[in-house]
């Protein structure tokens, strides 16, 4: 059997086609772009909530989409162990849907931040980081206005090893100087307790081809390769 992936499209999504391109042409996996109302979980082995916006992001980024029927479908996948990832706006949706802990607030600079950053891998036991090593440094771009991760229970996240990525310098040191948005403890991505759902503000789909990277790296591919490996080991086994 071959894995089949869904990339959801909400009104306002704008990284959906980039994600489809990478999955189909770089990772070479069967992928559908699905309007959120048409999404049926039974057809897919994994789902990606791409970046952009959703429903105008009125009230708070992601909250309206978090109440959509597509999220109820994604919840079924979450519960039976299939991989679910939220990138940027997708991360905001997954925290508002309470698939993931914490919340994403307006950047402390009050500005939209768009640049390449480094992440240090803190947990390589998730469905989207199993092709990385703990301590690896990832080249990847961010582009967001509301990416300041906040939780009122940091200790629990640390104890449960739910912090997957932190913003860092190129050596992997997480210092305030390399925190682009004021995120608590430099947190860039977190996972659920079961490790099959992660959310992150940076964009792996924009870092999967050397021609797009200032350092000619392809670190974004590792996220999608990890997902496919996880599907073969845990979903299609």
């Amino acid at each position: 059997m071959k894995p089949k992936i869904a990339v959801l499209m909400f009104p306002g999504s704008n990284c959906d086609l980039d994600t489809i391109h990478v999955l189909k042409n770089v990772i070479k996996v069967d992928t559908d772009l699905i309007w959120h109302n048409n999404f049926r979980e039974t057809d897919y082995d994994g789902v990606i909530l791409p970046g952009g916006f959703a429903f105008g992001d009125y009230l708070r980024a992601g909250i309206i989409a978090a109440h959509s029927p597509a999220i109820e479908q994604a919840q079924v996948m979450l519960k039976d162990g299939r991989p679910v990832i939220g990138i940027c706006n997708g991360f905001q949706i997954l925290t508002e849907a309470q698939f993931l802990p914490g919340a994403l607030l307006q950047n402390d600079s009050l500005r939209f931040v768009c640049k390449w950053v480094n992440l240090v891998v803190e947990n390589n036991k998730t469905a989207f980081s199993n092709k990385m090593n703990k301590g690896d440094v990832i080249d990847i771009p961010i582009a967001h206005g509301e990416g300041r991760f906040f939780t009122d229970n940091l200790k629990e996240l640390e104890e449960n090893d739910q912090i997957v990525f932190r913003y860092s310098d190129k050596m992997g040191n997480s210092t305030e100087e390399y925190n682009p948005n004021g995120s608590l403890d430099n947190i860039a991505g977190v996972c659920n307790l079961e490790r099959n759902c992660i959310g992150l503000m940076p964009h792996p789909e924009r870092a999967s081809e050397a021609i797009l990277s200032p350092k000619s790296t392809e670190h974004g591919k590792l996220f999608f390769d990890s997902m496919i490996d996880y599907i073969f080991r845990r979903v299609l086994k």
Partner: protein, 89 residues
Amino acid sequence: MDQFEFIIEVSIENKPAARDPVAETIKRDLIAKKGYDMVSNVRSGQYLRINIVAENESKAKEIVTKMCNDLRIFNPVTQNLTILNVNQK
């Protein structure tokens, strides 16, 4: 039972532990620079005015509080919700 229309005003603001850069900027770059040194703190937030039909004031407040919790109109991870005012229309 008779039903009455109430107007409930609600504010949503970040919890004290979550920084509020909007209010920090208003205070630092506007208030403090224009000589209002007596202003010691500012917090920003969202304001909702909700018209609701209910039997009485306490029932109206109960419904609005439950609605805001159930639908996550405020995010309890980062925000507090306060009912500012209830008026019968």
